[in-house]
């Protein structure tokens, strides 16, 4: 089973590299934020899979929850910052 | 001569009488006004006292409810049931429930909460089915070589009233096939749809009916029209 999860994790990592294209070349800052948010959701699953591989999922689940939380708050903050043109938050 | 004198005397006596009557009416009026003013002041005081008691009671209720929910959440997270950690949990949830008692239960409509929760749970399977359909639809669009999309922005007016039902409706719209809620302004939803078929699906109003059924709100009417982009910019930019 570990090998299977390892394969899934590697697949997710490859997907992250594809999304990274949008982060680097995406026209405009909004595309970049959407792409970064997508990378965050993929990272959440990668962290859980790492927990399975290291056999310490009870620890990694906390980290993954914090990651989801900070991803959400970061996206909201960036959206609010850019909504008004970035001059007055 | 005497007649005119008599008339003048009559006149002046009438005037005196009139004055006296006016004064009496004034006095009566002012007395009534004073009593009514005092009465309104007293009524206001009573209302204020009553309201204060009510709001204090509401705050207490909200704090206790928040405390119970947060303590349940803590025990589930912690998973250690010895005395030390349970005491820590009581202290922590007490601090947070006092700090945030007005956040979790703001704008709660008085109603049958139990029935609302049951109906919401019954609503979830339908929503998950819709999310399935939406994802297969997006996957089909993504993987088909010609990519048959024709994006458009539609606007419809909802008759839902409370904010929580708006949130449920907006998030359901975002999760279901090919539509994203862009903005809500004065009860009007601006929705970005991927194709015309999807927009027509939204117009049947099935989802809105379901959400209204959950929160027991009035039947809705909706006005819908496909919009050009330019006027929407005007409406949305005005809000800034």
């Amino acid at each position: 089973m570990n090998t299977f999860f390892l394969v899934i994790g590697i697949g997710l990592c490859v997907l992250v590299f594809f999304v990274l294209y949008r982060v680097v070349f995406g026209p405009g800052v909004f595309n970049r934020i959407a792409a970064i948010s997508a990378i965050g959701t993929k990272t959440l699953i990668i962290i859980l899979i790492m927990g399975i591989i290291y056999n310490r999922i009870d620890m990694f689940v906390d980290i993954s929850m914090v990651y989801a939380l900070l991803n959400f708050i970061g996206t909201l903050a960036a959206a609010k910052y850019l909504e008004i043109g970035g001059e007055k938050l | 001569m005497e007649v005119t004198l008599l008339i003048e005397a009559m006149d002046s006596s009438f005037r005196v009488l009139e004055d006296a009557k006016n004064q009496a009416v004034d006095i009566m009026n002012s007395a009534v006004r004073v009593t009514s003013e005092t009465r309104t002041i007293e009524e206001k005081k009573l209302v204020n006292i009553f309201k204060g008691a009510q709001s204090r009671r509401a705050i207490l209720q909200n704090t206790v409810a928040t405390f119970v929910i947060l303590f349940g959440f803590w025990t589930v997270l912690s998973g250690i049931f010895d005395l030390f950690h349970l005491t820590l949990g009581v202290i922590c949830s007490l601090i947070i429930s006092i700090l945030t008692h007005d956040l979790l239960f703001a704008n709660v409509r008085v109603g049958d909460i139990k029935l609302t929760i049951i109906r919401f749970i019954r609503y979830l399977p339908w929503l998950i089915y819709q999310i399935f359909v939406s994802n297969f639809y997006v996957a089909y669009l993504v993987l088909s070589p010609k990519m048959p999309i024709s994006p458009q922005i539609i606007r419809f007016k909802t008759k839902l009233e409370s904010d929580i039902s708006w949130v449920v409706l907006a998030n359901s719209i975002t999760l279901t096939p090919g539509t994203i809620t862009i903005d809500i302004k004065d009860g009007e939803f601006y929705v970005h749809a991927l194709a015309k078929k999807v927009a027509d699906d939204l117009n049947t109003g099935e989802m809105e009916d379901r959400v209204a059924h959950i929160f027991m709100e009035a039947d809705h009417i909706y006005v819908q029209d496909v919009l050009d982009v330019a006027p929407i910019f005007g409406v949305l930019r005005k809000g800034i």
Partner: protein, 153 residues
């Protein structure tokens, strides 16, 4: 200047999430010795929850919950708790932060005293981290222009 957002969806979701985020942060602080986390991480999550409140409900409503003075007080109080526990161990003829010596005061065995001492230090760290994070955020976003803002409202 941080204004209240006019979006009802974001405001409602943030309102529902904030208490749970805070209890989760306290869970991370209190269970630092069983699971990853501890003082710093829990403090960051607490600060993030207040930042979420700030960007959705605006500066005025957040100030009603946590006034500026309280934040300044917290940021020094955390350091005081940390250093106080350390110095207390010094006074009991131990090293700085030598928690085992606390067993004399608390009247419990040294192992339990160590756990209590670490918990106290972590609480101090988390309070300081939270307060400093919030004060940095408000200082940057208001450009330290509180006086004018207070007069307007």
């Amino acid at each position: 200047m941080i204004r209240k957002t006019d979006d009802i969806i974001i405001r409602t979701v943030a309102r529902i999430l904030v208490p749970f985020i805070q209890i989760y942060a306290l869970y991370v602080i209190m269970h630092g010795h069983y699971s990853p986390g501890g003082g710093f991480q829990g403090g960051v999550i607490l600060g993030a929850s207040i930042v979420l409140l700030l960007i959705t409900h605006g500066l005025v409503e957040t100030k009603k919950k946590i006034p500026e003075k309280a934040i300044a007080l917290f940021s020094s109080m955390g350091v005081f708790i940390y250093a106080g526990i350390g110095v207390l161990c010094l006074l009991l003829f131990g090293n700085f932060l030598d928690y085992g010596k606390l067993s004399v005061i608390l009247n419990i065995p040294p192992a339990a005293a160590r756990a209590m001492g670490i918990l106290g230090v972590e609480i101090g760290v988390s309070i300081t981290v939270m307060a400093v994070m919030i004060s940095i955020f408000t200082s940057i976003s208001t450009a330290e222009d509180h006086s004018k803002y207070d007069k307007e409202h």
